[in-house]
């Protein structure tokens, strides 16, 4: 497999473990603790036999030595179906021409997929842009390369709702990489439903440094998704803009956390491996 320009990124996240937030339901042997206890070789404990237990799980040697019937319990490990939902709307193509938000979103998607794939988890991808693209989670070796190709071939444009893709995602762990400038209310509602169904939802809020601190001087700001929205950003407006934008970020984070969503804020100035480690370690930084 050739990762192309993502080689350094994949090297940086090699060895990172990304455990599931809770025991997973799954029969396929994997790296995450399963809710099922079965016949694996990883001994956990003995328990007195109860009517209805499978007689094959009796510890016959113990029964022979002590004449007591005990069942041998083991800890099962299972895979976790993980899917990346990447927002490819026009607002992600910022700032021009570097498109740092889209670059960071791609790197995060690929790095997290690589981490998950390294633990034998099936990984999938959904790109929400002018043209949607959905890969169902798979565990085969080429899936990462297919994701890289799909993401590289995508140019952020248009407007696409994320909520339907959240609802239809066939994965237990869903990572949404977005700037949250689209259908936030619908996204929040869909995330609530998914969490209620014991799913795990992680929202990575991609913010460009230029959004927090726009270039100096008088600018005619144009919303790339609603070109009719044009407003002057100059000295007096800048302070009000910053205050309004920061207040919105805080409110958005509070709303997502209140719904049980794990909220991660990622700025374009922060390297993607750092963000990945924050996610994997479960130690959020700066509001994450």
């Amino acid at each position: 497999m050739s990762a192309g320009p993502y080689g350094a990124l994949l090297d940086a996240v090699r060895g990172v473990r990304w455990p599931a937030a809770r025991r997973v339901m799954g029969a396929t042997l994997g790296a995450h603790p399963s809710q099922l206890r079965g016949n694996s070789s990883e001994f956990s404990e003995f328990r007195p036999y109860r009517q209805g237990d499978d007689p094959r799980r009796l510890d016959w040697r113990l029964l022979a030595r002590s004449d007591r019937a005990y069942v041998r319990l083991t800890t099962d490990r299972a895979t976790l179906r993980t899917s990346m939902l990447v927002d490819a709307s026009a607002s992600m193509a910022f700032p021009t021409p570097a498109h740092d938000k889209w670059r960071l979103a791609r790197e995060l998607a690929i790095a997290l997929a690589a981490v998950a794939h390294s633990e034998a988890d099936p990984v999938g991808l959904a790109i929400a842009g002018a043209e949607s693209l959905v890969f169902t989670p798979r565990a085969r070796r080429s899936v990462l390369l297919e994701m890289i190709r799909a993401l590289d071939a995508t140019t952020p444009s248009g407007t696409r709702a994320l909520a339907p893709l959240i609802t239809s995602a066939r994965a237990s762990r869903l990572v949404v990489i977005t700037d949250l400038l689209g259908d936030f209310d619908e996204l929040l509602a869909a995330a609530r439903l998914r969490i209620a169904a014991r799913g795990e939802v992680i929202v990575i809020h991609v913010i460009a440094d230029e959004e927090l601190d726009p270039p100096p001087g008088s600018l005619l700001a144009v919303d790339p998704e609603q070109t009719a929205m044009r407003r002057i950003l100059d000295g007096p407006m800048r302070t009000e803009y910053r205050a309004s934008f920061t207040r919105w970020i805080d409110n958005t984070a509070a709303a997502l956390r209140g719904a049980g969503v794990r909220y991660i804020r990622a700025q374009t100035s922060e390297p993607a491996p750092h963000v990945v480690r924050r996610i994997a370690d479960g130690t959020p930084r700066r509001g994450g």
């Binding site: 026009a90 607002s91 992600m92 910022f94 021009t96 700037d179 400038l181 460009a208 230029e210 959004e211 726009p214 270039p215 001087g217 008088s218 600018l219 005619l220 700001a221 144009v222 919303d223 790339p224 998704e225 070109t227 009719a228 929205m229 044009r230 407003r231 002057i232 950003l233 100059d234 407006m237 009000e240 803009y241 309004s244 934008f245 919105w248």
Partner: protein
């Protein structure tokens, strides 16, 4: 070229200046910058203003300034070849019987008309008439005037003439060349004069001498005679012309007296019909009283008329003199004889033929009120008929329209164009 409404030019100049200042305020739209978080910028405006040292959009500015100036010039009513003068004059020339010397009147009029200002001459006695300056001599050749003057009629004629002159001059000056005899004024004169929006320049000429002292009655009348009180003011100069008053139809001796140059007045004042309220006019003097009529044959010069035009007194020339028949009967009782207006009429009817009752000059208060104060000529815009006078709202409306046009530019500049 002149402008009849220069205020419009001033307003247009102000508007053009404001337009230049607006073009100095450079309103520009900064370069577009795609910012996904545009929604967090307060929605106030989409252009940025700053003061510039050079006006922007020079071609557009030139077009707008020219538009305003052209509109202002149009409203200013330009006149390429002005026919309008600064001043015009109306001269009221008195040719009534109150004037002592027509030559003096004409000399005064010529002195007034010697200047370059166009003059309209109105000669008046009881009736005003327009006189061409070149035809002034015709007044002189018409002989001595006999009709009484009416200042009211003259002022009305002047007011009418001023309406026409107002289109050709900025102001109109009114001259009155007259002795200003009291008989030329009536109760309406000063009210009519109040309609003239300026002062009147008075050129006063000599009043015709009072002829009462130039004649006398042959025999003084007793005071119990109805004509007695009137006869008290008749002179008694010896050698002056003499009037013989007879109560019966003239006889041969009376005719001989008249033929020799005397005046015989046949006035049977006591006879006749029952007096009824009636009006009598004699030589410009009018009374309304209970009077009786007696038929008089109109064979000579009418000396007095009743209010319906019927002849009340007539002079019939006889030789060098004349016989006057008066058909006015006076009431036997009452105080009519004591009233001054009646006494004036009575003296007129007793005066020798060929003379008119003398007159007195109007007092100084009346003349001062006629002249007015300030000495200004009447402005033309106040002389025009009310419906022809431009409304004072016009300049304000024009200024308001220009302000609206400028406001429209500002609003349009601030309005964000719809994206394609």
């Amino acid at each position: 070229m002149t402008f009849l409404a220069p205020w419009a030019l001033a307003i247009a100049g102000s508007g053009a200046t404001a337009m230049v200042l607006l073009h100095l305020v450079a309103q520009h739209r900064p370069a577009a910058f795609f910012l996904p978080t545009t929604r967090f910028i307060p929605d106030t405006r989409t252009v940025v203003s700053r003061a510039a040292t050079r006006p922007r959009d020079l071609v557009l500015l030139a077009l707008r300034v020219l538009l305003i100036l052209a509109a202002g010039a149009a409203f200013a009513r330009p006149v390429l070849v002005p026919t309008r003068g600064a001043m015009a004059r109306i001269i009221l020339l008195d040719r009534s019987s109150s004037v002592a010397s027509t030559d003096e009147v004409l000399a005064r009029v010529r002195a007034v008309t010697v200047t370059a200002a166009p003059s309209t001459i109105i000669a008046f006695d009881s009736v005003p008439a327009l006189v061409l300056p070149s035809a002034l001599d015709s007044i002189h050749s018409a002989g001595h005037p006999t009709a009484p003057g009416s200042m009211s009629a003259a002022l009305i004629a002047a007011r009418r003439a001023a309406v026409l002159l107002a289109d050709r001059a900025d102001s109109v000056q009114l001259f009155v060349v007259s002795p200003l005899a009291i008989s030329e004024f009536d109760s309406a004169t000063l009210r009519i004069r109040a309609g003239w929006p300026g002062s009147i320049r008075i050129e006063r000429v000599a009043l015709r001498a009072n002829v009462d002292s130039g004649w006398r009655l042959e025999r003084p009348l007793p005071m119990d005679d109805p004509l007695g009180p009137a006869s008290r003011q008749i002179g008694s100069v010896r050698g002056a012309r003499v009037t013989r008053l007879v109560r019966q139809p003239p006889i041969a001796t009376d005719s001989a007296y008249a033929r020799s140059g005397g005046t015989v007045v046949w006035w049977d004042s006591a006879s006749a019909s029952r007096p009824t309220p009636d009006g009598l006019s004699a030589d410009g003097r009018v009374i309304v009283a209970a009077l009786g009529r007696r038929v008089v044959a109109a064979r000579g010069r009418v000396r007095a008329r009743w209010s319906d035009g019927t002849v009340a007194a007539v002079d019939t020339p006889v030789g060098a003199g004349c016989i006057r028949e008066v058909g006015v009967a006076l009431p036997a009782t009452g105080d009519l004889a004591l009233h001054a207006p009646f006494q004036d009429v009575a003296r007129t009817l007793l005066a020798p033929c060929g003379t008119s009752q003398g007159d007195a000059a109007a007092d100084s208060v009346v003349i001062a009120r006629l002249s007015g104060t300030g000495g200004q000529a009447a402005p033309a815009d106040r002389l025009r008929a009310a419906e022809d006078r431009p409304s004072p709202l016009a300049p304000w409306l024009l200024a308001f329209a220009i302000l609206l046009a400028i406001a429209e530019l500002m609003v349009r500049a601030r309005t964000e164009p719809k994206p394609a």
